[in-house]
Symmetry: C3
Subunit: 324 residues, 3 copies
């Protein structure tokens, strides 16, 4: 497959400086691109890579267009990274393999489920009673959408996703646990992407809600009654416990854990592997990770950490002694 | 769907104070319930919510029955939360959608597997050679039960569960790894619930064992040769490494990790995201989580943490100097 | 099933001290083995178990052969643990249940995919367009291998594995996220084993690469563009973020997290639940885990930890005051 620079600029805009007839055969990172490749530079810190690149064409911001070596074609665009994202989409669309909408014959779709005619339900998916799948939405393969759950428009659910398993709810009955049937469902907005083997549980009484534009990576657990605000993104292996409310435009790093019933404000960034143990009312960047060390140093410091409160008291005592 | 208060009390007991003919159309939390809803109050701390509720009926403990506003029907029960759990079950049962036992035609069940006639094997499940599924047990959808694994009675296995994948066992052979075939299986007791995409590995020589009444949430990993004691509950994303033994009536918070070959006593509660690095012989509540902070404060404290052992030595030195 | 000691030694080598006609009915750990069992001792620390064992036969190193009680047959081998691993394989092979190569009729394999005639594609697997499965490789059940992904020879992919879901890539476009189509694939070498429900994402522009001999446990997330070096092993629930490069012969403990774009050298061992926040250039053992404590002690120490930087300053002040 190849696309000419003229075709690309015609489709995506931007100002071309170079030969419009040049045929591009692939996208590649700046440092490994060759003359048949197109690349991009979004971060001015990598200008040196631009000067040394072997790419046939580079997408650059206006301010950087004069840094490119002569002989390299340029597409000048205000936001090169966004332009690059759209170019990956253009590339994918031009590949001959287009996905025909419809329900794969191996999928098991309950007759009472409503699947939009423009949606795609892939091989070996399960869509249960009363579920609804919106227009343009793609269930890749082996996805389960449980009873009465609703998926909006233009969503992508990757392989192994489970929407609408029972939330984890039990009432203690002496030593044993009595199941609380989960009578709510899951409501997912438009333009949501959900990574492979991620699970979103149905609510206990009301619905678990994922708002428009949310992006969830693989192997994430979203407990019952959670609400995830618009355009929030979570990296892989995050766990969000039941009844947590997460604001809009948040980012949550991989492996982070959000405890139950907490509220996280809009615009909060949580570092990877951080445990959120209390509500966060203000936007900002929050972290809680034990620093990596060589094992021997870690052992010494970790052992001392268990006496930290005592150390504080000893410092207090020293301070008192030093006061005349 | 609606149920009268008379029907509910007839089915579940409790003392009704109010109109037995009142029809209930749904269950709702105290703070959002309306006149067609039934709610419950289990925690006396939320008495104010009871006074302000718009619910048509509230399940309350005897001690709180006089706190309710007039005009609200009450079901007085010794344990309102347990009563509520049973009500969710009654509600679910009354919904017209009843699950007919049997094996979904899309499931792949080996002829040598034994599935009880009252069990349900859902769409696209795999039940391998020699596996046994007990009475009343439900495999929701896309569940794999591996060779020779045994699931007891009245269990629920949610979508994507994998029972009996190989435990992670390899003997080093110079630079490469030689596979240790996992010759044991998995034995799961009665009344066990297992969340979506959770994995329980088969034992190396003997069986991995999950005792009666255990409740596991989603995306949990249980390694080979592990034993989980009766009525223990684990929240999502927990990892239990091989050959660990976990007692009865324990709770393990979401994202916690239990290292291999450890023993945890009965009645131990592990906080979410805690790493259990040594055996625990006494019941109690155990924690090990780096506290959340704004990122700038965390950076300062984390950097200092790597010198903690040195700080201790400096305190010692100061103490010696201060001794006359 | 039973195998004679003569048969075992004929197949696997080693020196037999005992009755070659003795029939072995199973493999068992040293402490629970009975006279019909074979066991092994690889760690000299467990010599006492050898002296007390009820096993019919024990595999031992030459140096330990005189510690065994009389009446116990011995197979003397240089590396008893490796010998034991091979014995588990012999045992498995002798079980009547042999896996016939081929594609299970319930699997969905695209006509353009290439599945070697000696490979096994189990029930309800999905193999997408252009994917290739090498000789002797086994896809257990409910495995997805995405478009154009390549799996080498003699690999084992356990139930629920997802190879080649889209990497997590989005360009910010104001408040919303624009998808970066993932145009790379996944390349997996020979002799790789991948645990249940583990996910390996396809690369953004180039391929995600898993080299020969890598062993991955269950519920692991490997992000896009990652490279995992030869014979590296990762325990359950590990998360490796995008574009990380992990060396050869590394071990990564369960629940550990490796951040994106990092480089880890060959021969690095990461402790369980450790967060790798920076590149590691030297082989060695690295750890970063908050130590477990009873909850009350943890609360005190965790609170003090947030003042750690201040405590350091107070120590500095004390030191200055103490200088004459």
């Amino acid at each position: 497959m190849q696309l000419s620079l003229a075709f690309i600029v015609e489709a995506l805009g931007g100002t071309l400086r170079g030969n419009p007839a040049l045929e591009i055969q692939g996208l590649a990172p700046l440092e490994s691109a060759q003359s048949q490749h197109i690349s991009f530079l979004s971060n001015p810190r990598y200008q040196a890579q631009l000067r040394a690149t072997g790419a046939g064409c580079v997408i650059v911001a206006p301010a950087l267009q004069d840094m490119a070596p002569t002989g390299v074609a340029l597409i000048v665009a205000d936001n090169p990274y966004l332009y690059f994202a759209r170019l990956t989409q253009l590339w994918r669309q031009q590949q001959t393999r287009s996905r025909v909408p419809g329900i794969h014959p191996s999928a098991v779709v309950d007759p009472s489920a409503q699947v939009d005619a423009t949606a795609f339900v892939g091989p070996l998916c399960v869509v249960e009673q009363g579920a609804r799948i919106g227009p343009g939405t793609v269930l890749k393969s082996r996805v389960t959408v449980g009873e009465d759950c609703v998926i909006g428009a233009r969503c992508i659910l990757h392989a192994g996703v489970v929407i609408g398993a029972d939330g984890f709810g039990f009432a203690p009955d002496g030593e044993r646990w009595e199941k609380i049937e989960q009578l709510g469902a899951v409501r997912i907005g438009d333009d949501v992407e959900i990574g492979a083997n991620t699970c979103i549980d149905r609510g206990a009484l009301q619905d678990t809600v994922i708002e428009d534009g949310v992006k969830l990576d693989n192997l994430i657990q979203i407990g019952h009654n959670v609400r995830v605000g618009r355009n929030t993104a979570m990296a892989g292996c995050v766990g969000v416990a039941g009844s947590a409310t997460i604001g809009e435009h948040c980012t949550i790093g991989g492996g982070a854990v959000v405890l139950g019933h907490l509220k996280i404000a809009d615009g909060v960034n949580i570092s990877a592997a951080t445990v959120v143990t209390k509500s966060i009312a203000k936007p900002g960047h929050y972290t809680g990770v034990f620093p990596l060390d060589d094992n021997a140093s870690w052992e010494r410091n970790a052992a001392t950490l268990k006496q930290l409160h005592t150390l504080r008291d000893r410092i207090k005592t020293l301070e008192k002694e030093n006061k005349p």
